[in-house]
Subunit: 530 residues, 2 copies
């Protein structure tokens, strides 16, 4: 942060703005409950403030609430100038929906704050706000559900520029929504906005940056890079850099690439290992991993069984060749036979005609064991390859193909996995993902002649129903009313509900939709209710 | 609920009180975000209200907030009399700490509510409150951190009896804390209290019932059964039933037994399967499972390897005999050898002297695979046997011994597992858990001559440090200042921090301490910070 401060000063800036909770990084989760860490964040703020000579800074940090109200902590922004903290603003609107838990940690601020920049002529009065303060788009009959509008009060207090510190997680389509929302907010108030958004991946969340300056008419004056760190110099009365924001499918790709890279680096993994089935999910996962950390840090492993088609290993190998990654094939037949023999006596007691799911899962779990053995032996992160559609309906094996530290595609519906594959291939000189991998009917290959569509509705139907049920929280009635076959809807909803226990133990997945499984969706497991 | 209402009426009660959110069950989590379910909960309330003839009822339910403020939902209590809902009170203090997320779902109520019982002579005015409204024990400099005191306002409004609907999760020692706290609240206000607490297990939480009536001096007039459903008739001016509350170790046992039984029944499992190592964790888990659901619904499986001591299978078998459960031994040697052969070529590339953790974990994962195969084939719930101490420091194998749907002991420190074993044996005619299982030094038996204490500090030291770090959120400095060896503290804290990724995929565990891993402790995984 001090390096960036120095860079801003050298570039002639009067003010540098950091994102929400920049010192901790967002979301800090229960780390903010530790007094020693809050203390260290305060010392860091003071250290940064002493560097604020010939430049001012707005710094997101965790402040202690001297009143002791609520949690005793504030999600705060410090205004630093002349070598010290001049004052603090505390976020007034604390979100508690989706992935946000801010009331767990923070007490809402009670008043707005404006500050005069000491090093501009004439002095400019800035008004501070933090993320949700500006969004404030949850409405009921035209009123904010929060019951207050901090931005309106800040403007009434005489702010000439609105500053917003954000940590706004990426989801597909969000930037269009943001810019329309912010333009409206700015036009209504008639003052310009400078908004700084966090960038980088933290567990399931990817922050996409793309910080903005808007003039008082809501026009975009400046835009920072998306999915990358950037120091954007903004002159509200001059020319500015306006970086493009990628289109929908490219933004999903960038989010996944950033999410993989940051997870790997922050966890300290030198390399990744991926099970390559020859299918599209593992192919896309591997391609994204290579784009994130380069081919030398990615290992692909095929684990053919007696049920694998000849094309499975060929396609996996072709992919590895295209991606220029290390590849090995570890056949599972002998381990499979050993496990069958191990279970034979116990399984003999099962009633005739009992489900063969147990037998199928044995293969998936041997593969999970092989990949984890490689992960343990070589310190590689195992990337999980399952997509959102199969995780939703439980078409996956717990401790089998669900093994891994990061589930790259677990918020990407199968139809979007296909779109990603075509997009990745279309963006390179030569196709990375073998065409046969894209064209062949998807199969788990855990028994003879198996195909996903034996068990599941066609993926375009499935994904449309899942979008209504998982993202929109629609009832069966409401979904059927949209023209879907009611029997299919009930079957899908039943599969989703019965799979909570699997998702409860799923790897962290990278959120790219409005509602991902994980921290943004909290369902009871033991619920008899249907 | 209608059956209980009828029972209360037959017993001559004027009022029947149900717990917090009784219609949904607490905590309903994101189910309350579904409009169709909230609608059904309202229909259920109306149905109950029509049954309120010659008796009144207070019913916990989810109410829509007509003002549309906040989330649009209220954590409410309906007063039902004369066949209809007479009015509603909405919880004013919404907890957001530990396992509670109430601001995610609800908007705080804005006013207190009192109601006159129509069927008492003279009419009695009751004041409603919900759980945290009465606790309100988070203080800063002598003031409630919530800034308001709903109970005080209710009393000022003329309430003659305070009613509290609770869903207060069990933790060891909580009932003593509750009764002291409530006694103080009641004495300060000079009115009696009738408090009804939910009972039963919901995922990680066990609600222990033990509903109470206190007179205006804070004396316990009546206490319902702990850990069991009960219809307790209370006569504030007469004699009442006062059920005992079990002592600390017995209350932990009851909580675990209730948690297992309700998880099994609510998920619809007919049986459980448990890996028996001959060690104390699996022995205590099996004994508790038998106490929860009976010996016919429990299967024990020993899975000896080349590193298993002769006493391991003997002790497992003796335990199974004592518990009268089905037992089988499934040796893992052939699967172990097959996996070693499968990995040999890959492992050959590892540097000489590399860690043998990968080899050890292979055995744990084969065992996990065997148990899951039995679970899948016979529809049994696999119970995980790991204790809190090993889960804290990561002394467990992901997808190995961590496999399972419910981790019975994952909030029970190892020292308390020993206490439970002695308590269980001491409470029966003959010891259930073999004495050798209690006496022998704990070992994972994943390599020759292994013992837990090769890697971990003695369990009494470890558990004391973990209590400070995990439950009290103390810093290394603060723990060392209490007289622990700083080097040991740093090593333990480092192990805890590095194991977040394992706990992130852990089975649901039953909470019995003030801070369990799981929904009450939310840590980032990818955190470079130490």
């Amino acid at each position: 942060m001090i390096d960036q401060l120095d860079g801003a000063r050298s570039a002639g800036a009067a003010l540098v703005v950091f994102p929400e909770l920049a010192i901790f990084g967002y979301p800090p989760k229960d780390l903010v409950l530790r007094r020693d860490l809050v203390q260290r964040n305060q010392l860091a703020l003071e250290r940064i403030a002493t560097e604020c000579t010939d430049i001012s800074a707005v710094v997101g940090y965790v402040a202690r609430d001297a009143s002791g109200a609520g949690t005793g902590l504030l999600n705060a922004a410090a205004f630093c100038a002349d070598g010290r903290v001049q004052g603090t603003y505390a976020k007034m609107l604390l979100p508690t929906y989706d992935v946000f838990d801010e009331r767990r940690y923070f007490t809402p601020g009670r008043d707005v704050a404006t500050f005069e920049l000491p090093n501009t002529e004439p002095p400019i009065k800035i008004g501070l706000s933090i993320c949700e303060d500006l969004w404030n788009d949850r409405q009921f009959e035209g009123r904010s559900v929060y019951g207050i509008d901090p931005v309106e009060r800040t403007v009434a207090r005489g702010a000439e520029i609105l500053i917003n510190l954000s940590a706004s997680p990426y989801r597909a389509g969000i930037q269009t929504h943001r810019e329309a929302l912010f333009a409206k907010q700015v036009k209504d108030r008639g003052i310009p906005l400078v908004l700084v958004n966090q960038v980088g991946g933290n567990d399931d969340l990817v922050f996409d940056g793309a910080s903005l300056a808007l003039d008082s008419q809501g026009q975009v004056l400046a835009r920072a890079k998306a999915f990358d760190e950037d120091l954007l110099l903004v002159d509200l009365h001059g020319d500015n850099r306006v970086e493009p924001y990628p289109d929908r499918i490219e933004s999903i790709r960038r989010a996944l690439v950033l999410g993989i890279g940051d997870y790997l680096d922050k966890c300290g993994f030198a390399s990744t290992v991926i099970g390559l089935s020859g299918g599209i999910d593992s192919a896309v996962t591997a391609a994204l991993a290579v784009q994130a950390v380069g081919p030398k840090r990615v290992q692909g492993v095929a684990m053919p069984s007696r049920y694998s088609s000849p094309h499975s290993v060929e396609d996996a190998q072709a992919l590895a060749r295209n991606l220029d990654i290390d590849f090995r094939s570890i056949p599972i037949e002998s381990a499979h036979r050993a496990m069958e023999a191990t279970m034979a006596e116990s399984f003999a007691a099962a009633s005739a005609g009992s489900s063969m799911i147990a037998e199928e899962n044995i293969q998936a779990r041997i593969r999970g064991g092989i990949l984890m053995a490689l992960s343990n032996k070589f310190g590689s992160l195992l990337l999980t390859t399952g997509n959102k559609s199969e995780l939703a309906v439980g078409y996956c094996t717990l401790y089998g193909d669900m093994c891994g530290g990061l589930a790259v595609l677990s918020d990407v519906p199968k139809t979007v996995v296909y779109a990603l594959a075509r997009h990745i291939n279309g963006s390179c000189d030569r196709p990375l993902i073998p065409q046969r991998t894209i064209d062949k009917p998807p199969s788990a290959e855990l028994k003879e002649g198996q195909a996903d569509q034996d068990t599941l509705p066609p993926y375009d139907t499935l994904d449309a129903i899942l979008e209504q049920y998982v993202e929109q929280e629609c009832s069966v009635d409401a979904i059927a009313d949209q023209g879907f076959d009611r029997v299919v809807v009930e079957r899908v909803v039943g599969m989703v509900d019965r799979s909570e226990y699997k998702r409860n133990q799923a790897a962290i997945g990278i959120k790219v939709t409005s509602r991902a499984f994980g921290s943004g969706r909290r369902m009871p497991v033991a619920a008899r209710f249907r």
